[in-house]
């Protein structure tokens, strides 16, 4: 299944370049499912393999394809099972991937219901939309900005009066920086992007292509304030804590409210709200749909609604239950969600290729002798070549293959006026990789840090792919010392190690932890999947 997805991605990147690398097409890869899963695990390890559990039907059990953030509904669902006997077997997946799965008509027979943070995406995909029989919102949470209490005081903000324009001004004045998740991979990120674009475009109704174009200069200014990007809400919060110098986070209110150090502001001029509709499917039997209906009713019963709002800080959807303490009850305008795919795609495309700060990445690639075994080098070449369909305009990619030492340092930039030449360069250098020598992990990492240096205008990161233990050059302790001696700005560059072949989990986990990165597992999953997943963090 993943192979198919990658094929689609590759072929689209050959055709309409920008559509292939951006927008919806890029969300078709299977790895985002794993991102969703990864965001649930507290540790820094993540599985990059899409789980393929046997999902056979079982009477009395509803197999639900659910947004990853719904993992926090466990206790509520347990309570409902006790009360109604309906058991839920969730499969967590990123919203975009779930929509894609429905769009390819692959939910049939595997899932009894769909439960996403929002069906807004889904409605833009006709095939996916036609598979929903009925949908009922279960709870809600608007996009909000959580700002450090001290920053709120410094800006002299009254939280209830803050508008998107106020936020824009604070960013432009250099008084506010923030982090948000990647809109191409995370529903909270995309909802945030729509909120910001609507809020700053002066559009009075649903965004059009023209609105997006007109707002581009303001949006570009706004996204200069974005200091953190992430493929998942979980890592975003970790990185935010680690950095300490970022002022705010953009995410769902429920995520932000769980932190005591943030003042949560719903901009006065409008928000996009996730309403978590539990949706039954045309492909299911009437008996199953009846169970879905019963589950929906149970979730909307006042007692369940109280439990939901108290335990998840989302808002209840029945008028008789008040929101949890601390959730402001004044109404907000709901910003209309784009009504066409072209607007949604256009917005994502603009964000990735024009608006956000570009990324600079060093790929530290183990091409030691052992990579010649088991077709490992070929897998690396294939994964990297596939990845070229996914690089954004303005992105700087450095390939740093190593064995006993760094073998070469080759930097390519995807220039908007001629992206092909940069991408062809990456493919050429990838093809030329050969396997020989020992494994000098730490010496090579030090070189990568030196190459990147301090850079405040880009998202900088290092990807480390190795299939073995460190056998040459600097020792782990020496690297720790090297890292500790770096200036603060350089210590903010995270390393994303990929566990592959015979590499040492403990060694790589240490690197991820030390540098504020995150470990990706290509031993259980695929190398393609790991590279893809890391894109959300670059």
């Amino acid at each position: 299944m993943r192979g198919g997805n990658f094929e689609a991605r590759r072929s689209s990147s050959v055709g309409r370049r920008s559509a292939g690398r951006n927008g919806w097409a890029r969300t078709t890869h299977g790895a985002a499912a794993a991102i969703a899963l990864a965001s649930l695990t507290a540790g820094c390890t993540s599985a990059t393999e899409k789980p393929v559990p046997s999902n056979k039907p079982e009477p009395g059990t509803l197999r639900i394809l659910a947004s990853s953030e719904l993992a926090d509904m466990k206790s509520v669902l347990e309570q409902i099972q006790q009360d109604t006997g309906i058991k839920v077997r969730p499969t967590y997946m990123g919203t975009l991937d779930a929509v894609n799965l429905l769009g390819k008509d692959k939910a049939k027979g595997t899932y009894d219901a769909i439960w996403l943070s929002s069906n807004d995406y889904l409605r833009l995909n006709p095939t996916a939309a036609q598979q929903i029989v009925s949908e009922t919102p279960v709870m809600s949470s608007p996009v909000a900005i959580g700002v450090k209490n001290a920053t709120v005081r410094k800006l002299n903000w009254k939280p209830e009066n803050v508008t998107w324009a106020d936020i824009e001004k604070a960013v432009a004045d250099g008084d506010l920086t923030y982090g948000m998740t990647d809109p191409s991979r995370s529903n909270s990120g995309f909802s945030t992007l729509v909120s910001v674009a609507s809020g700053l475009s002066d559009a009075q109704s649903a965004l059009t292509d023209k609105d997006v174009q007109q707002a581009t200069p303001r949006l570009a200014e706004f996204f200069k304030g974005q200091k953190l990007t992430s493929g998942s809400s979980g890592w975003l919060a970790e990185a935010y804590d680690r950095r300490g110098d970022v002022d705010a986070l953009l995410n769902y209110e429920s995520v932000l409210k769980s932190r005591k150090d943030l003042t949560v502001i719903r901009p006065r001029d409008g928000v996009v709200t996730a309403d978590y509709p539990l949706s039954s499917l045309t492909s299911t039997s009437q008996a199953v749909r009846d169970d879905v209906r019963r589950l929906t009713e149970a979730l909307r019963a006042p007692a369940a609604q109280r439990l939901i709002t108290d335990s998840t800080l989302r808002r209840p959807v029945v008028a008789s239950v008040p929101p949890a303490t601390g959730l402001d009850t004044t109404r907000r305008r709901e910003l209309p969600f784009p009504g066409s795919r072209s607007v949604a795609d256009g917005l994502l495309d603009a964000y990735e290729n024009k608006l956000r700060r570009p990324s600079r990445t060093v790929y530290v690639l183990d091409t030691s002798g052992s990579m010649g075994e088991d077709g490992r080098l070929d897998r690396l070449k294939k994964a990297l070549t596939d990845l070229t369909g996914d690089f954004r305009d303005r992105e700087e990619v450095t390939l740093m293959p190593f064995g006993s030492a760094v073998k070469s340092v080759r930097t390519h930039v995807v220039r908007p006026e001629n992206p092909r030449s940069g991408l062809d360069g990456i493919r050429r250098d990838t093809e030329a990789l050969t396997a020989d020598g020992d494994t000098a992990i730490y010496t090579s990492l030090e070189k990568a840090y030196e190459h990147l240096g301090a850079d405040d205008d880009t998202f900088t990161s290092i990807v480390l792919m190795t299939d073995g233990e460190n056998t040459a050059g600097a020792s782990p302790a020496q690297f720790d010392g090297f890292y500790g001696g770096l200036p603060q700005a350089e210590r903010e560059i995270p390393v994303f190690p990929i566990l592959f072949g015979d590499s040492d989990r403990g060694e790589l986990e240490h690197i991820a932890e030390l540098t504020g990165g995150r470990l990706f597992d290509a031993q259980k999953g695929s190398l393609d999947g790991a590279f893809e997943e890391i894109r959300g963090y670059q």
């Binding site: 807004d120 409605r123 833009l124 006709p126 095939t127 939309a129 036609q130 598979q131 929903i132 029989v133 009925s134 949908e135 009922t136 919102p137 809600s140 009075q204 109704s205 649903a206 965004l207 006065r268 001029d269 409008g270 709200t273 309403d275 509709p277 045309t282 492909s283 039997s285 009437q286 009846d290 209906r293 808002r315 209840p316 959807v317 029945v318 008028a319 008789s320 004044t330 109404r331 907000r332 305008r333 709901e334 910003l335 209309p336 969600f337 784009p338 009504g339």
Partner: protein
């Protein structure tokens, strides 16, 4: 695109039919007294037919009912062989189906429900203060369609209405949220009523008429952005406090919620002075189907149950008036000051919806 809808639905329906037929046969073996009747219904009636009291009332008359839901407009694309009846939520698709299957008129129309606009009190008050609505009572009033269409045509925003500045949520273009008119009945009926008013009280009868109102209809739909596919989801979002200040729903949805004794918060029901009715019309495909359709409209118990689900039974209004006596705050029982808009023929309405959706 509608073709695709129909095909997808047809596939699942065929599965449903096979299962239902088998189930029906088994039951008939056990008890020859009940007739199993198979129907395809609009989703807004699913709760009615699932109501245990409705099941009991039908059983008392010797019927076991099996239903599958489908969008009213999608029924035209289905192969209804093996079904006893189809039950779309308005007359236009019912007439199309009747013509297709050679069903004799008149068709049983057991109950109906007018389209209404729901608003929170703040929004309703601002509309009233600006001549877009009249609000004689706290929970219900009249929505002035021609004034609204004029405002919509001029891209009027909430900010331009006096009094809106007191309510933070009232900003942006003034519009009514509806379902997607190309796939859902209520969205299509909205265009029927709006085009009727916009064209000076003329029912669109062809392309020329559709042309006359097309730019305005396009505007009414495009400002909404992504639309819900069912009025059920739209209403629930509204009750949840999520979404646009003005939402088009069936009166039956409001009445049903009130009948269940649910808290509706500061809901205000605005009856458009010209509105379209959802005429729930049975298209009998067999004699059993016709008998069942007649029964729904004549059986006292079933009429009473229809009222419980918010529908207005055809003929006398006494039952609806009596049953909703406690809810006159929200409901305009006699539909005073509400004019019924005729609905264009199915083909014309389709064309109108398609062009409005763009």
């Amino acid at each position: 695109m509608r073709r695709i809808v129909a095909i997808v639905l047809a596939v699942f329906l065929i599965g449903g039919v096979a299962a239902a037929v088998v189930a029906g046969r088994e039951e008939q073996d056990k008890s020859t007294a009940t007739k199993t009747v198979l129907g395809v219904i609009g989703s807004e009636k699913a709760e009615f037919f699932a109501d245990p009291d409705v099941v009991k009332a039908l059983a008392a008359k010797g019927y076991t009912l099996k239903t599958e839901t489908s969008g009213s407009w999608a029924m035209e694309g289905l192969d209804l062989k093996g079904y006893d009846f189809a039950f779309p939520s308005s007359q236009a698709p019912a007439d199309e189906l009747a013509a297709k299957y050679g069903v004799r008129q008149p068709l049983p129309r057991p109950f109906y429900s007018p389209l209404v606009v729901v608003a929170h009190r703040s929004a309703a008050g601002v509309l009233a203060d600006n001549g877009l609505a009249t609000l004689p009572a706290k929970g219900n009033g009249t929505f002035r369609m021609s004034a609204y269409l004029k405002a919509a045509g001029a891209d009027r925003t909430w900010q331009q209405l006096k009094g809106a500045e007191r309510h933070g949520e009232l900003s942006g273009t003034l519009f009514i949220s509806t379902t997607d008119p190309t796939s859902s009945n209520s969205g299509a009926l909205y265009l029927a009523a709006a085009s009727y008013v916009a064209d000076g009280g003329r029912v669109a009868d062809g392309t020329a008429a559709v042309n006359r109102t097309a730019p305005l209809m396009r505007k009414l739909i495009s400002v909404q952005g992504a639309q819900q596919t069912s009025s059920d989801a739209a209403f629930r979002d509204f009750i949840s406090g999520v979404g646009n200040p003005l939402v088009l729903v069936y009166e039956s949805q409001v009445a049903s919620l009130l009948a269940q004794g649910q808290d509706v918060g500061d809901l205000t029901v605005l009856y458009p002075d010209t509105t379209a009715n959802s005429d729930h019309t049975v298209v009998p495909l067999t004699d059993e189907g016709r008998a069942l359709g007649e029964l729904l409209g004549t059986d006292k118990e079933l009429r009473k149950l229809a009222v419980r689900h918010g529908f207005r039974p055809q003929g006398t209004s006494a039952e609806f008036t009596a049953a909703t006596a406690a809810h006159t705050t929200y409901l305009n029982q006699k539909l005073t000051g509400v004019r019924q808009s005729p609905v264009p023929a199915s083909k014309v309405l389709h064309e109108m919806a398609r062009r409005a959706r763009g």
